[in-house]
Amino acid sequence: MLRSLPLRAAALSVVVFFTFMLAWHLAVRGTTAVQQMDPEYAKLMGVTATHGKSAMPGPLDVAATLWGHLKRPFYDNGPNDKGLGIQLGYSIARVAIGYFLAVIVAIPIGFLIGMSPLMSRALDPFIQVLKPISPLAWMPLALYTIKDSSLSAIFVIFICSLWPMMINTAFGVSAVRKEWLNVARTLEVGTFRRAFTVILPAAAPTIVTGMRISIGIAWLVIVAAEMLVGGTGIGYFVWNEWNNLSITNVINAILLIGLVGMLLDQILARFARLVTFPE
């Protein structure tokens, strides 16, 4: 083939996209038979019954609503009618707070575990038990103790972001090459200087990988957490629109959740490129 690989890949992506859109469009065309009914009664029934239209919105409906949302992302008409920008903003803020609290706690503890075999063995059973707990299982406990639904969501983000970062930091720190540590030893470099000039740069790629895993999990969990705590946030929006039976809005929200998740991942990926060193 003469054309470059990226070009061919892009062309294929476009084909896949339009095939999917076409299939979706065809699948949700009206197929059910239209019932003859009294006009008064027909007014009470939706378009599904009167015009045979599918209850599932087509790609064009979704695109039209999405355009409407994107035109007015920050309107606020009260508790149950806020712009998607505001809802996403709440979710991102909760993730950011919980995640940064987790960074502050996980990286120093990870360092300690990685540098001290004693701490590693002593703390290992706790980490092994706490790590597999679904973050949402903490929710009732958080609601009972914190007594604030928004803070409870932040706590859930904190607890779910903690483990991948802590484990990766501990692994990265304990796997620093002996020869680099020996360089520091022969130069009589003190403990603190060694931690910042040798161990941290050497372990940074592994630590950032842990941070990247954590941000992914945090974004997965926030949607579920907000469905439970309600009030604001993209997760609440999804659940609220489900209650409104607005599948179009649910699909819009799903799309935006995916895009924001990708964006968060890309930020961490860029950060990872900054700290990675070629050998």
């Binding site: 030893r185 009589e188 070629p278 050998e279």
Partner: protein
């Protein structure tokens, strides 16, 4: 001996073995080195050469005995003893300048960054890496990396340099050039150097004294071969020296056969007084025929 600078005093290294036993890597090693001398240790893999070097560096501790440097028993690593590691062990996230100045700023903590850079630059120039200061180790060839390692070790102006097979990972041409550089630098700076090698020719070219170590476990220092070659020797000329083959054959003989049997065959051996030997001067030169046989048997 009052002029001895470094001495190994009866050092041993033992590890616990299964069944409550201990494995002795080496024991009762006694050796002294004078200031400004270049000493090479040669021996087979596993005899504990690297452990001896690590003990000298302070990175490892002997199970028995002590190491005295400049009348003081060593206790841990020191900036007085610079190590050139077998792998170059440069910090890959730092540039050439960053690696050398890291060492400089570790030694002189109060120096301004300009002073640190000037000192680092001096030693980067000395090893011939001018112009590559801003490259990262991944952008350098094996020989250049090892030059950075040498510059880093020299930049802290240590009392002695310890080299663990510094050229073993390099191709023959690069190795030759770097051997020349190391010899030139050591002579110019009067550096006391302790080097481990597998390469007999390298030892003869570089060292004043070549220490022969028997096979482990239970390795001992068998002999110190005093290099009879002139101080101003050239790498391309050494093999033409009349005593070259006597020295070479003596060492190769030791490595091929005597390193295994030395302990049994030398019952009255006193490890505190390792004999000095001068091949070709103490003993009659070997017959021409036997030289051929020995050369042929080298490729065992």
């Amino acid at each position: 001996m009052s002029d001895k600078f470094i001495s190994l005093e009866g050092i041993a290294k033992r590890y616990p073995a299964p069944g409550g036993l201990t494995t002795t890597i080496f024991e009762n090693l006694w050796l002294s080195m004078n200031r400004g001398e270049f000493t090479c240790v040669i021996g087979h893999s596993g005899c504990g050469k690297t452990t001896v070097l690590n003990i000298l560096a302070g990175l490892d501790t002997p199970s028995e005995g002590a190491v005295i440097v400049d009348n003081l028993a060593i206790d841990g690593p020191s900036l007085d003893r610079a190590v050139i590691f077998q792998g170059h062990s440069l910090l890959p996230w730092r540039t050439v300048m960053g690696n050398v100045s890291y060492a400089v700023s570790s030694k002189w903590r109060r120096w301004s960054s300009a002073q640190v850079r000037a000192q680092a630059q001096k030693f980067i120039d000395l090893v011939g890496l001018t112009g590559s200061e801003h490259k990262h180790p991944s952008e350098l060839s094996g020989g250049m990396k090892q030059r950075v390692g040498i510059a880093r070790a020299l930049s802290i102006q240590p009392k002695m340099m310890l080299m663990d097979e510094p050229f073993s990972a390099l191709d023959a041409l690069t190795r030759g050039t770097l051997q020349d550089e190391v010899r030139r630098i050591c002579q110019e700076t009067g550096q006391t150097t302790f080097m481990i090698t597998h390469d007999v020719d390298e030892a003869i070219y570089l060292a004043d004294n070549i220490v022969l170590m028997t096979n482990g476990p239970g390795a001992v220092l068998a002999e110190v071969v005093v290099n009879p070659l002139p101080k101003d020797r050239k790498r391309t000329e050494v093999h033409k020296h009349p005593l070259y083959y006597a020295v070479r054959n003596h060492i190769v003989d030791f490595l091929v056969s005597r390193s295994r049997t030395f302990v049994e065959q030398t019952p009255g051996f006193d490890p505190r007084h390792v004999p000095l030997v001068r091949p070709g001067l103490d003993e009659p030169p070997p017959e021409p025929d036997s030289t051929v046989v020995r050369l042929a048997s080298r490729g065992h």
